[in-house]
Symmetry: none
Subunit: 202 residues, 4 copies
């Protein structure tokens, strides 16, 4: 990723280039995916040159990494005293984040795996892991509040939450209306709870 500009003498780097380039990379990763990402095209659209890009990021994979790492992940939701509503809120935030142009193709790139291990690890560390931990904590709070069963299989339950969205995306079906609440309801019941207001399938 972008090395911190050397402290000493010489012309300092133009920080606006970093911004414009990363924004452009995100836009293109979103619309065309990693494969079709052309450094030359990015440079042109960002109003700079390939050299300026390669000076900051050693190669294309690192450039994409940097762009992803900067994604303004929907920060930790303020926890309320209702774990079920927290789950709905978390999933709504997730859907908002992943449904935005950048979202899906990025996930695809990540699942490509071996293309660039570092790229994937960075994404997991910055985006996936924190979300999983937030989800996990919500379910544990539901358990602590006595709403969920003792022996509920939380490890797997966590994967159901966001997994539902991936499966729908892969199938090419639009996320159904009220998706977040309906998933939360299913997961809640799967763990032995009773969702307060039953979301109605359409």
């Amino acid at each position: 990723m972008a090395a911190a500009a050397r402290s000493g003498a010489g012309r300092p780097r133009d920080p606006s280039i970093d911004r414009r380039v990363l924004a452009e990379v995100r836009r293109r990763l979103a619309s065309d995916g990693y494969e079709s990402l052309s450094v030359a095209a990015v440079a042109a659209s960002a109003g700079t040159t390939r050299a300026a890009i390669y000076r900051r990021w050693p190669d294309k994979a690192d450039l994409a990494t940097a762009a992803i790492a900067e994604l303004p992940e929907a920060g930790p939701q303020p926890a309320t005293d209702d774990p079920f509503e927290d789950l709905v809120a978390e999933l709504t935030a997730f859907q908002r984040g992943v449904s935005r142009p950048d979202g899906v193709p990025m996930v695809g790139t990540m699942l490509l795996g071996s293309t660039d291990a570092l790229l994937v690890e960075r994404y997991r560390e910055r985006v996936v892991r924190p979300r999983r931990e937030r989800l996990r904590r919500i379910l544990e709070r539901g358990h602590a509040a006595g709403e969920l069963d003792e022996g509920a299989d939380l490890d797997v339950a966590v994967t159901l939450c966001t997994g539902s969205w991936y499966a729908a995306a892969l199938a090419g079906v639009p996320p159904p209306p009220q998706w977040a609440r309906r998933v939360a309801a299913l997961v809640w019941r799967a763990c032995g709870g009773e969702p307060p207001v039953e979301a109605q399938p359409t």
Copy 2:
């Protein structure tokens, strides 16, 4: 994709070329992903020429499509009279298929989406859609057998089944032991059923 050989005149296509090429494509898609797939390298490894490949598949995307579409999808499981066990079996087959070297990166390529709309559509049609329908039918049979609730949200429940696997893969965590049975159990309960034998989380 490979046009069906015209019935009449002309030298017939060498069917072994189709086989060797597609096998090679699958091997390379698995190990390096779509991006690094080189038609020339495939031709060389398959002991043929680029021309013979382009005669069959108009471009690289279509070639990959064909290779994927031929994946020996774990065929429709023979339905037993126990819907829950059918669900476990279906998920086990899914896991076997998607865990094989080819599996994950292929899914990633598909989620890249707009890289090649046709590629994705072909994959959905040949692989994803049939699986979703099989899952859906299993849940409906559970419902018909009185094991699942009337108003169960089957639309979303279907997405939970395979989605769990995608979420785990994206997080980089190995699918937990007994994954298929545990997911089935959660989904069953989410739909109001009671899994016959409670799978124990580890």
Copy 3:
């Protein structure tokens, strides 16, 4: 060139294919030269297939050879009793032959030499050599008739005759009016003769 159809059994070759193909080859050699001559295009335009062409002529060079060899070369002029007029007639015939669309590029192909030694040799044997011998004999008859000098350098004089045309073609200048008679006059004088009627340069 086209092998004589085998005498014996089996379906006889369609002679109209020979005609149509060679005509097409001549047309294309004329308009685009040997390089751009595509066997497939010839076959299509002649309403037949590549195989039928390759059955008759072993390769492209031979095909072109055959087309050239069939050029209705202005056959041996009926010798008159006036060698000078015979020379004019021969050169006029030569100019007619070589000035027709096919002519020039063919000469170029021949001078390419090493492209296909056989092609060149065939052309020399069928077209160039006979013409040189006819020219030589005309000059010798002029010598025998006492019109040309004893020690005239006939070897080189022969090359002047047609060479004049090549030089003009290479320079891109149209062959001057009355070209045949004017060349004949110059060659005649070069060999010590006096052309009966002086052709006037324009």
Copy 4:
């Protein structure tokens, strides 16, 4: 052809690449002709890449054009006060030039004509036209010196000079010994002059 390097910014082109490539092109044009000229092979032999070549010359025809246009034309012979000897000298220089490996096939390519009009026009302009003018001037000086006839047909006489060589090449006969002097003698007599020393045919 190679665009003049832009004055200003950017890494300047490596001029040695121009040199090496054009030399290689000339060598190959000479030995194999235009048709067999492979850009990839040229690049390899010249120690560079196809991209570097296509950056300079838009296509193969333009590349060949450039190579020909750079041919070190046998410069204007220093005129003596003996026009006949000047003619011999000019023809000797011509023979030396055209007999060098490059010579004949190049002429063949040029006579192909319509393959690439620009290619041919460039060659005429740089090589053929200047030579024709030098020959013409020599003959005119012979005329001015009273050695040649008033009404000599110089237009055609010029074509005899080099044409003799082309005709011999086309016939596949080696240029006879003393060729230049013998042609000069014939042309001189054709124009009414008397060559100072009669060259003896062998």
